[in-house]
């Protein structure tokens, strides 16, 4: 019997494809954001808000990741430059988008006509934290009804986030969500993360959030 030293990251295959995606996006000057959250936190609502608010300022494309259905793709269809729905039900993994799924979705996109690509990941706080897709920024949404302990329970997804959105802020009088405790957890895990408090329902905080998206996208274009 012989021993072979290997030391090879098992996630390398995904990372290689993610890097390829990133290069393709950079070549076409497309800025990509991976939006992650638990089911029902408001990923689609946030995307609809971005589409509405940045209409005429940016050409926006969407990749929708869901286990099944085209419900979300239909909701965003009318406002987006391009929409690709990925259903993960028949994929080797159904709990998260992976770089290879994005690679094939990008083939159906008019990349030269797009400034911003919003990737709505599968609703899940665990699996998407393991797989990078080639995105430029990672955003995690937490909503008030989920409780303020999510960063403590699912630290990895928050540790890697560039921005954390606290959605459904209009529900604050009705739910036991300690904003200070939540902010304290985020500051501990990831002091660099930008935090946005907003409500997709009332529109509170949306302007600041969309300005950030616009600024990030424009910085990306001028950088190249």
């Amino acid at each position: 019997m012989k021993r072979i030293e290997v030391i090879q990251n098992v996630l390398e295959a995904n990372e290689t494809i993610a890097n390829r995606n990133r290069q393709l996006l950079d070549k076409h000057k497309v800025f990509a954001i991976n939006i992650m959250s638990a089911p029902g936190a408001g990923k689609t609502s946030l995307i609809l808000r971005i589409l509405k608010s940045l209409k005429g300022k940016l050409n926006i494309a969407i990749i929708e990741g869901d286990v099944a259905s085209t419900v979300d793709a239909e909701k965003v269809q009318s406002e987006a430059k391009a929409v690709v729905q990925i259903n993960t039900r028949n994929m080797p993994e159904s709990c998260s988008l992976m770089a290879a799924m994005i690679e094939s979705a990008l083939k159906d996109m008019p990349l030269d006509d797009i400034d911003l690509l919003l990737i709505e990941n599968v609703g899940n706080l665990i699996c998407p934290s393991e797989f990078t897709l080639g995105e430029h920024k990672r955003v995690v949404i937490s909503s008030l009804p989920e409780g303020d302990d999510k960063p403590t329970k699912y630290p990895l997804i928050f540790i890697d986030a560039d921005a954390v959105v606290i959605n459904k802020i209009d529900l604050l009088p009705h739910v036991d969500f300690d904003i200070a405790a939540f902010l304290h957890s985020i500051a501990g895990l990831n002091p660099k993360a930008k935090v946005f408090q907003l409500s997709c329902k009332t529109g509170e905080g949306i302007e600041r959030w969309c300005s950030w998206i616009l600024e990030q996208t424009k910085n990306n274009t001028t950088r190249q």
Binding site: M1, V6, V10, A13, P92, S96, S129, E130
Partner: protein, 113 residues
């Protein structure tokens, strides 16, 4: 939940390294898996049995070495194993921490013949 793709990678790496070493059979695959990584050894084993069938890796033993979580306090630089889910530093009680170890997932070595 997402171990199938990972296990495919493990089988592919094992087969190609064994081939490179001009060996004929994979006896054992030594994996290092961090406590914080979301991967479950039993699931990897389950998929491995099916994916390695009829290959030179069929019947190989998967050996998992678990790496305990180690955090580094951003305040006082203490490295510690968290005792609770709050991840507070035992030395200064600070709660600003970064992960030092525990997210690993790699093939450390193979035993082949």
């Amino acid at each position: 939940m997402h171990e199938l793709g990972i296990t495919e990678n493990i089988v592919n790496i094992a087969l190609s390294k064994t081939d490179e070493a001009q060996a004929n059979k994979v006896i054992q695959i030594n994996l290092v898996i961090g406590e914080l990584s979301g991967f479950v050894p039993d699931c990897i084993q389950f998929y491995f049995d099916s994916l390695s069938k009829d290959t030179i890796a069929q019947g190989a033993v998967l050996h998992f070495e678990s790496v305990p979580t180690q955090l580094r306090c951003r305040n006082c630089s203490e490295i510690f194993h968290p005792q609770d889910t709050l991840w507070s530093c035992p030395k200064c009680q600070g709660q600003s921490v970064e992960i030092f170890k525990g997210r690993e997932l790699y093939i450390e070595s193979l035993e082949v013949e």
